[in-house]
Amino acid sequence: MPDVFPPDTVRCDACPVLCYIKRGHAGACDRYANLEGQLVRVDPHILLDRAKSQGTPLVPFLEREGDWDGKIMKGQETFVTAIGAGTTYPDYKPAPFIVSSEVEGVDMVTVVTEGIFSYCGVKLKIDTDRHLGPERNLVRAQGEPVGHVTTAEYGSQMLSLGGVHHLTGGSKSEGRVTCETLLDLCNGQEVELAIDDGASVRVAAGKPPVVNGQQEERMRVGCGSATIGMFAKQWFGKVDDVVVVDDHITGVLSEHQAGKLLGVRETGIAIQGRRSTPGRYFQVAEPGTGWGGTNISDPLTILKPFKAKFAWPYLRLLMVSTTGEQFAYYELDEALRPVEKELPEALKESVGRIRENCEPALTTVLFMGGAGGSLRAGVTENPVKLTDSVKRKLTRVTCGGAPAYIWPGGGITFMVDVTRMPENAFGYVPTPALVAPIEFTLKKDDYAVLGGHVDYVRPLVDVLKEKERQRQLTSHAQNPWPLKPHAGSSES
């Protein structure tokens, strides 16, 4: 046994192994860990909740006295997903499972298949105002180009990754790394990405993004100008001027329409950057990972000297970022130079309010692919009819049971939120291309009309008999039930 331990080592007594666990580490079981010197259980809820939600008794097996037998599942409550379905080849043969079931008196058919998507990628929405890199610049994983920075959205930076050109149009290594990156993102794993002339980010679906090693906590409440509009009343009378620093639009209370309406007095403040309309400034600094998505760490660098004609000694100035994460309070001295002071009690609330109104920052991963090719031949003898049926919402498209948004226009181009799909639903082939599950559900009558492989339709109960390779999961709580008749495919 070791004799000298660093302080904060705890000894776990949850099992006879009696592990010594260092601060920040887990024991041999990976279930108990040392969190700040305390022994904590790190996984209990996962195991129990899963078991509970799936109705599995947690009673010891021996109490059940050998009455074990494969539980019979109620047909209507089971939806066969395409995960692990594989398929037959070549394409004109029917899909691996064409399953019929009766739902609310209607005969439904689900065509279940896994597709190889050479045309596919992910759209990443990263909730941050920090500048991740210029639009159109390459996004790299392990040094290989895997995508690019695309149009930013309100409060979020957008990346578009994958696509046929990175998968198969570049070097072998580029294709392999692109495929790995897409696969990991779709399966909920964390991926590290570096943007040319920009930041490096660590992202995983449904988790906060980490930008240059710093985890994002909150989205901004609005642009700097919007923030002035929202909080002007709360500041009025408690401070003489407020600057909300923002890479997009920096707002200044005394010049802003909201301040004018309240009768805020002119302060002689002068801001670097390009004035858009009164109290709204573009380009006060370079984009970066400092205050409000700019590159500044000292907010005074965006101020020019106060105009002596309007300013006065002891003038009170608050500078705050659009997330409330950064703030500083100043008073002017006799020479009208700002001197930092402690934030007065009366202003703490408004800064806290900005923070409170910022939603948690997350990374969202949408898988996007096109089922326009021969995959449709596994569903019907006349592929265009499937496209037509999907467009008319007679056929619902799901991915592993999760609702898919279908793009208008030609083909079956869809997007799906990977966090609503079962774990590890995606695979790959060395082509390289991603393998994703896709299910088409429609009324049996409609299936016959569009030239479906009706001779291959099998009742659900028959499919369920082949338990060998099956895994039962509980449906995601937010997903509409895929078999419910008469619901549109693009609803979610």
Binding site: M1, K22, H25, A28, P57, F61, E114, G373, N424, V429
Partner: protein
């Protein structure tokens, strides 16, 4: 506050899940329903005392095994020692290198003592003990990286092969590794032998003095690790092709020696997307690359 052992059926109603401390087993038996019940009951009865047995002589099991070492007393511990003994004079190894395989094997033995089955497996976190009655076979999926569970190939193991144990080791796994392999999978006569060999081969997939590999004394992460102050791998930067080939060459040489000595049947070594198969010609178990034929979208 000793947690009780967990014994339950998984939601599929077919597989049994046994869990106690760091031991986590998934068991499935195929055959007559009554035989399956008997098998599961026997496995649960045997399971509940295993952790205590092991812990009663833990210091001995964590010490380097030597030819003249004191022999452990417990049945599982003896299997562990026997599995690492062939390596004990050529490298640092402790009986703990075979603990997962030895536990799986012991539970399988209790199952076969209670029931006559077509097939059964006991999977202890990837270290698997198999039973196959005549004319039965298992198809086993293999993954390159445990954190990226896409199948890259299949193994077909039939009753006629003498393979009854499969084990995987690598630095990304739950146990420490001295090497840089993402995963080394080994087929052997029994699970404990496969477990020990996978550890030894994974340790050998290595390149000394290569920058970009994070190595930390095992004790810094886990104060009572059996590996003490030996440097274990915690991170591997992307390697160039020639480095990958050299590291795999090193592991493959060790695997070839173990094959020649009949300690293992075959082995698959994975490192950053490259895979090397080491297998003597006569072995019937074949690792074929995944030929899933899927519909092109």
């Amino acid at each position: 506050m000793r947690d009780p052992a967990l014994i339950r059926m998984l939601p599929d109603g077919r597989r049994l899940h046994l869990h106690d401390g760091p031991i986590d087993l998934i068991i499935e038996a195929n055959g007559d329903p009554q035989a399956i019940s008997a098998a599961y009951e026997a496995s649960a009865r045997r399971f509940v005392s295993i952790l205590d047995e092991l812990c009663s002589e833990l210091p001995l099991l964590r010490a380097r095994a030597r030819e003249n070492s004191e022999r452990p007393r417990g049945a599982v511990a003896q299997r562990m020692f026997a599995a690492v003994e062939p390596y004990c004079e050529r490298c640092f190894i402790t009986p703990m290198a075979a603990v997962a395989g030895a536990v799986a094997e012991t539970i399988l033995e209790s199952i076969l003592g209670a029931a006559s089955l077509d097939r059964a497996y006991v999977n202890n976190g990837g270290d698997i003990a198999l039973h196959l009655a005549a004319n039965h076979f298992y198809r086993v999926g293999t993954v390159e990286r445990p954190d990226r569970p896409s199948l890259f190939g299949y193994l077909e193991i039939s009753a006629a092969d003498s393979v009854r144990g499969i084990a995987t080791s690598g630095w990304r796994g739950r146990s420490f590794s001295l090497g840089i392999a993402d995963a080394v999978t080994v087929l052997a006569d029994c699970a404990s032998a496969a477990d020990a060999a996978a550890t030894v081969i994974a340790n050998a997939v290595n390149l000394p003095n290569l920058p970009g590999i994070t190595r930390v004394p095992a004790r810094e992460i886990s104060p009572d690790s059996d590996l003490g102050d030996l440097l274990v791998t915690r991170g591997v930067d992307p390697l160039c092709d020639s480095e990958i080939v050299a590291a795999l060459d090193s592991g493959a040489r060790t695997a070839e020696i173990l094959c020649a000595q009949r300690l293992i049947h075959s082995s698959a070594l994975c490192l950053q997307g490259h895979t090397r198969i080491v297998s003597p010609l006569l072995v019937q178990a074949s690792i074929e690359s995944s030929q899933r034929s899927l519909l092109h979208a």
